[in-house]
């Protein structure tokens, strides 16, 4: 293993404990978050959602938006959470880069921090139309971390 591939493997292991990534889907894009608990995994997958549109590091967390949602199970709660963010982004013309989530049973209490879209600075690539039920999964992996993922329609 070269130094570079060892570094990538270490990054990937770290991501799988606490982080986010995009995964390929032929027409659209998959978003995935990892964390030591489901709250963190939901926060991370929200960052992945922003990454579909722009680099999350370019988005300043200046303004906070409160979000609550509910669903009959955890997987549909993930879809609700992401769709609530899509709605807030669309109607407030904002992007978000920092998230806090608290899941209690069927309910999610969330907060998203971000700023209004600045086309010149953010160069947003594509808007997300909605979160789908494709490749939808919220579960705890064998080695401990939680994973939350689905395909989003772009």
């Amino acid at each position: 293993m070269t130094a570079r591939s060892a570094s990538r493997a270490a990054d990937r292991t770290a991501t799988r404990r606490n982080g986010w990534e995009l995964f390929p889907h032929r027409a659209d894009t998959g978003v995935r978050g990892f964390g030591p608990d489901k709250n963190t995994a939901f926060e991370q997958v929200a960052t992945a959602l922003t990454a579909v549109i722009t680099d999350p590091q370019w988005v300043m967390p200046h303004l906070a938006v409160e979000i609550t949602c509910e669903a009959p199970d955890l997987e549909l709660l993930l879809v609700e959470w992401l769709n609530a963010l899509v709605y807030e982004m669309a109607t407030r013309r904002m992007l978000f880069s920092r998230f806090a989530v608290r899941i209690e049973g069927r309910h999610l209490h969330g907060r998203a921090w971000g700023e209004p879209v600045d086309v010149a600075r953010h160069e947003p690539a594509a808007e997300v139309k909605g979160a789908t039920l494709t490749a939808l999964e919220v579960s705890r992996m064998a080695d401990g971390p939680w994973i939350a993922q689905c395909v989003v329609d772009v």
Partner: protein, 476 residues
């Protein structure tokens, strides 16, 4: 795609016989090259659709089919309401009534070339495109409901376009059966500032040269003359349609067990046509269709304003406006008799053949124009519905090239600036707010649209009429 489970019917048709819970066969229209490029998810999804209640005749995949959510993109399926047939939010998609509108300009390429840069700049300035863009119309409650019932007709009444446009729009510009009361306040809120916007992703406005004619009689009837220029617009129902799709996908997934529907996967969420939620969805979805028709009507009008300023003598006439994400009630010959069925076309274009009563008289002898979009650097095509297309796939054809590569992979292959420069070398001006968006939509990320169209022609889904080459592309 692994061909082990397919039987080859012809050079352009593959079949999966019903097995297990499949109620009907699955039929894929593709040649060897396209079937090899299709991912195995298309097989999984087209056969899953064949398991849904009330499906009639077969589950179809068009030559541009690729992995969707629930239904494959490029999927066509008909359901009989009197035999437990279902309606599926995923079978229509989030971008309800996304489609293509092509407008004839009567201008030659030489005339456009003389003013191509100012034209590109003016279109880019006039037509809102990309993430966060807003239109100049703000629709409040009563106007919103009027738009959701009136579609392109409403837009013409508001001064966007001409009454003569309407006979060249599907449904005469207004989809019957729309129920604004079934569209949620959130969907309406999402649409409030988005009328007359292109959106993003693979949506665009292109100025295109008519580069080649294949069927001179149909081309003449459609007003297509080699060397002249058309404007094509690809977009849909914007935030309203996305929100309707979002809400009903969730509601149908939750309701399915109580409605007695066993889904092979939740992403196939659907409801009986004869159910409260099924009827609510149909009413909302039809309102979404009208939103898309109004949106393209407004954008077409904005394009006319730009052309009027630069080419005062030009008269822009609508060739046709056709959607490729819909569910519509249609009558088709099935098993020797006419039956009214609910046709889902998810990434598939309606293609009525010659003589169809829904076509305007001027087009009826030649079949419906079928508008196939390209991807910045590649050609687009005008096809026409054939007499055979009803028997092939309920009068349906492909809708575009279909992606060969994910956005993810495209970003690793290309940079936006590189694509813009390469296309500029070929005389194509691309205008976009996002360099990354251009890279994700690189022409090389798509299948060969020419191969897709050739198979559609050879399979009898629709016949080729004209090829259009891009001169200017305003990216959404």
């Amino acid at each position: 795609m692994d061909k082990t489970n397919l039987s080859q019917v012809s050079a352009v048709e593959w079949r999966v016989e019903p097995s297990g819970a499949m109620r009907v066969p699955a039929i894929i229209y593709a040649d060897e090259g396209l079937i090899d490029q299709m991912d195995d998810k298309v097989f999984e999804q087209v056969t899953n659709v064949a398991r849904l209640p009330g499906i009639v005749k077969a589950s179809y995949a068009m030559p541009d089919a690729h992995w969707g959510y629930g239904f494959p993109i490029g999927g066509v399926a008909a359901f009989d309401p009197d035999h437990g047939g279902v309606v599926s939010a995923g079978g229509v998609g989030f971008d309800i009534s996304c489609g293509v509108r092509s407008v004839l300009t009567g201008l030659t390429r030489a005339e456009i070339e003389a003013l191509k840069r100012p034209l590109a700049d003016a279109l880019f300035a006039k037509i809102p495109a990309g993430v966060g863009s807003t239109g100049r119309i703000r629709l409040e409650s009563s106007d919103m409901d009027a738009m959701l019932v009136g579609g392109a007709r409403w837009a013409v009444e508001q001064g966007y376009g001409e009454a003569a446009d309407l006979e060249r729009v599907e449904e005469g510009g207004a989809m019957a059966g729309a129920r604004p009361d079934q569209v949620s306040p959130r969907a309406k809120r999402r649409q409030r500032d988005e009328m007359g916007t292109l959106g993003s992703g693979n949506h665009y406005l292109e100025v295109q040269e008519i580069a080649e004619l294949y069927d001179r009689d149909a081309a003449a009837a459609f007003g297509l003359r080699a060397g002249e220029v058309v404007v094509s617009i690809h977009c849909g129902s914007r935030g309203l349609g996305h929100q309707i799709g979002t809400e009903f996908l969730r509601d149908m997934a939750i309701a399915a067990p109580d409605l007695g529907i066993a889904l092979p996967d939740r992403e196939l969420a659907c409801a009986p046509i004869h159910s409260a939620i099924g009827e609510r969805y149909l009413g909302a979805m039809r309102a979404g269709i009208n939103c898309a028709l109004a949106n393209r009507q407004i954008i077409g009008h904005l394009a006319r304003e730009v052309f009027a300023a630069l080419f005062p003598k030009a008269r822009l006439e609508l060739l046709f406006d056709v959607s490729h994400n819909t569910c519509k009630v249609e009558e088709h010959e099935i098993g020797g008799r006419r039956r009214r069925v609910y046709i889902h076309r998810k990434g598939a274009t309606r293609a009525f053949g010659p003589g169809h009563p829904d076509l305007p008289e001027s087009l009826r002898p030649f079949g419906q124009p079928v508008l196939i979009g390209g991807s910045m650097g590649t050609a687009s095509y005008v096809l026409a519905g054939t007499a055979a297309s009803e028997a092939r796939a309920f009068s349906s054809a492909c809708h575009g090239a279909g992606r060969a590569m994910s956005r993810h992979r495209a970003l690793k292959h290309w940079r936006g600036r590189q694509i813009v420069d390469q296309l500029a070398d070929r005389g194509i001006i691309v205008k976009s707010h996002s360099s990354r968006g251009v890279a994700e939509e690189a022409p090389g990320a798509y299948k060969d649209v020419g191969a897709v169209v050739d198979v559609s022609d050879r399979a009898g889904l629709a016949r080729k009429v004209a090829k259009l080459s891009p001169l200017v592309c305003i990216k959404g």
